[in-house]
């Protein structure tokens, strides 16, 4: 849900202005003949009916981009994105955004190449179609054709639709974004079509700065997703350690309580070589999902397979395991920094209680763990013994919410 709101707000603010500068002319020219016709019939320029064609234009645009989002999301699901490829894609999108921002700020001519120009025959075709014709068909047609000339911000959003890895999510993402761009499109097109160019000149710098910031955030989320120490959150936590909680030692924890609550236990197959156990994983209620596909209806990612063990007999090694409890919340993970003892296996328990955010999509890049948690429930991940000084960063699948487990002596 959060990503749809972000997409809507992006559309409402930067996307609307940016799209208007690219597609505003197209809308204006498709309206021109309607205005001309109305003025000819009534003799009064104020009686030109422009609201209706603008709405048709925007409706067609909305539908066309939603379909595009669907296809891009589907493409992402076909590509079977694992956390690392998603992270790389995310970083690439971030760099693309920063490049777009620097282009808008006219920092260097090289950045102009971040803007993808449609081929001449397409622009020529669209322009000539826009000039001839009126009524409902032309604005509808023109609106749909805007998919061929996306603005920079739209191009960024299209790339994000691929990373969702889900056709429906991709479609909703593009729908939210284009819906967000619509009000400003309508207002500006309605009041003065020429304003588009003026807005473009005045607000381009503002748009550029916003895109620059968003681009840097996107690169950072990509770094988070990779568990990179260069990510801002990891740099900060390396300096200070907020909300630190020490791991519960096995002696402190009541075995009856902790074990009865951890059922079934999902042991993560971190090497990804086994392809067995998927059926039993589902049957046993282990919510191990394909991460490219963040909806519950996704298929199981072959790179990470869960094996279910019902803990009737606890192996000796598990008796020594320390328990690390992390609360999954709507706005992240608590604690963000957990200290654990080195040299003993850990049992990471993720507790969620009526959570409806992307924090449910939990990733430990270094262990190749990716899991979609239940909105309410407990999920256990077995972590083998780690050497002292090891840091295991974790995050949500988009790299927005982060945390780290630090193994001490």
């Amino acid at each position: 849900m959060t990503e749809y709101i972000v997409a809507f707000v992006t559309g409402l603010t930067t996307g609307g202005l940016s799209c208007l500068s690219v597609q505003g002319g197209l809308l204006a020219s498709s309206l021109a003949s309607q205005v001309e016709q109305d003025v000819r019939e009534s003799g009064d320029p104020h009686k030109a009916r422009v609201a209706q064609p603008i709405l048709w234009f925007l409706l067609a645009k909305l539908i066309a981009y939603t379909l595009l989002g669907f296809m891009l999301g589907w493409l992402g699901s076909v590509l079977q994105l694992n956390p690392v490829t998603r992270a790389i894609l995310q970083i690439a999108i971030g760099i693309f955004m920063v490049g777009q921002a620097l282009r808008m700020l006219n920092v260097h001519p090289i950045f102009r190449y971040f803007n993808i120009e449609p081929p001449k025959f397409i622009t020529r075709f669209i322009r000539r179609k826009a000039k001839n014709g009126s009524g409902v068909v032309t604005p509808l047609f023109m609106g749909a054709l805007t998919v061929l000339i996306p603005c920079g911000i739209t191009q960024v959003m299209m790339a994000s639709a691929i990373t969702t890895g889900n056709a429906i999510t991709g479609a909703f993402l593009m729908f939210s974004f284009i819906l967000g761009t619509s009000p400003i499109f309508f207002l500006v097109a309605y009041f003065a079509t020429r304003l588009g160019e003026k807005l473009e000149k005045y607000f381009m710098r503002f748009v550029a700065v916003v895109v620059l910031v968003l681009g840097l955030i996107t690169v950072n989320t990509g770094l988070n997703l990779m568990g990179s120490p260069l990510a801002l959150g990891n740099l900060v936590s390396a300096v200070s350690s907020p909300r630190v909680v020490q791991a519960q030692s096995p002696a402190d924890a009541s075995p009856a309580t902790s074990l009865s609550e951890i059922s079934p236990v999902c042991t993560m197959q971190t090497n990804g070589t086994s392809n067995s156990g998927c059926g039993s994983a589902t049957k046993g209620g282990c919510p191990m999902m394909n991460f490219g596909n963040r909806s519950a209806a996704g298929s199981v990612n072959p790179t990470a397979v869960a094996v279910v063990e019902v803990p009737t007999v606890i192996p000796a090694v598990e008796d020594q395991a320390q328990e690390l409890v992390i609360q999954v919340e709507n706005n992240g993970y608590s604690p963000e920094v957990t200290h654990a003892r080195a040299g003993v296996p850990s049992r990471l328990v993720l507790v969620s209680n009526n959570v409806r955010s992307c924090s449910l999509a939990f990733v430990i890049p270094s262990l190749n763990v990716q899991v979609l948690l239940e909105p309410t429930g407990r999920h256990t991940i077995e972590i083998p013994a780690q050497a002292a000084g090891t840091r295991i960063p974790f995050s949500c699948s988009m790299g927005m919410y982060t945390g780290v487990i630090i193994f001490d002596q």
Partner: protein
Amino acid sequence: MKITYNIPDMHCGNCAMRLEALEDELQGITSVDASYHKQQMVVDFNPEIITESEIKAAIARKGYSVGA
């Protein structure tokens, strides 16, 4: 006859589209190929029908200046 103009104030792909519309708007222009990346436009025109100064004036009417 083909002439290449530098248009330093093209600031997006749409500027190129706007300038290319000249090929439909002016008599005597065969084609206009504008590039935002290169900040240039190549105009193919018939000098017997339209003059260079008329083309420059049309570019200026669209809000763009012709560079050196």
